[in-house]
Symmetry: C2
Subunit: 197 residues, 2 copies
Amino acid sequence: MKQAGFSTYLYANTELDDDLIRSITENCRSVWYKKNEFLLRQGDICRQVFFVEQGLLRQYSIDEKGKEHILYFAPENWLVADRESIFFNEPGSYFIQALEDSKVTIADQSFINNLAEHNPSFLTFNNRLLHNHIRHLQKRITQLLSATAEERYLDFIKIYPDILLRVPQAMVASYLGITPESLSRVRKDLAQRHFKS
Amino acid sequence: MKQAGFSTYLYANTELDDDLIRSITENCRSVWYKKNEFLLRQGDICRQVFFVEQGLLRQYSIDEKGKEHILYFAPENWLVADRESIFFNEPGSYFIQALEDSKVTIADQSFINNLAEHNPSFLTFNNRLLHNHIRHLQKRITQLLSATAEERYLDFIKIYPDILLRVPQAMVASYLGITPESLSRVRKDLAQRHFKS
């Protein structure tokens, strides 16, 4: 089974020095969550950031009609948090839930704030995360406004190459903003075209 | 005609002290853009932040099929920039265009970076802008995944109370991700219900 390490992630994606990375990982803890368990519930104030070492999470909301809307999936090596709730110190709009048994590294926001305040290279890293998140959200909006079901599906495979095999089709369709029937049709069409060529 | 001042905006929305606000506004310049003029084009690297003193801008992309997708409208008192392009120093995906003759205060990104580096209260303000942007984008995704045409329209009026009278209906429909016909129907339905009650 795939496993990602938080320190490996930090070495690969930041310019933090060894001592700081050691100090960060020493201040985090690892927790196993069972499939379907919640790391955060809608209405709670988020005070932690989660790094997925193993398994799969999703961040989603439930609207007044009881319908779920998935903001994103988070497989190994993803950082997850309700950044809105953390920053504004307000009850959040999202659930964060394990879709598989998942091993998660948890960093407390107070520790992260402290780092960002005293360490410019950590601040730069945190800023990159924020802007990456903005980039991802903006792309998704453009896609929801314009892309066909097939384009959405192909883009999904690029972002999440192996998630298709790990979550129910209905959840993928919900993420894409299309019906499960439309998703089936797209997959069938693509398989047929691929077979012919 | 409405007019917003950048220093008034800074006094109202930040905790920056008088000297700093004076220094910021002294380092900005005001430019008039004619209706339809571009402040930024898709493919350019964005190096400036725009504050709308008077008039109306929009940030939008054009897809491969030539279709426009509006990320947002920016009336008086809005700050506008292609934050993705600025941060990653990459050619941007968006146009920023004046939809009316507009008076815009321009701040160079290099000046802003310098401020953020040396001034914690400016950094906090900039962080709040980023998180507000994230909040807005996340809400929009949930809405595009779930809301009915009427819900989208009502939400639009809340965010942009007076834009309906200032832009073509087709542009509003495009922002909402619905057809102009559907927008007309929603407006007619709401007007009738309002009249009856």
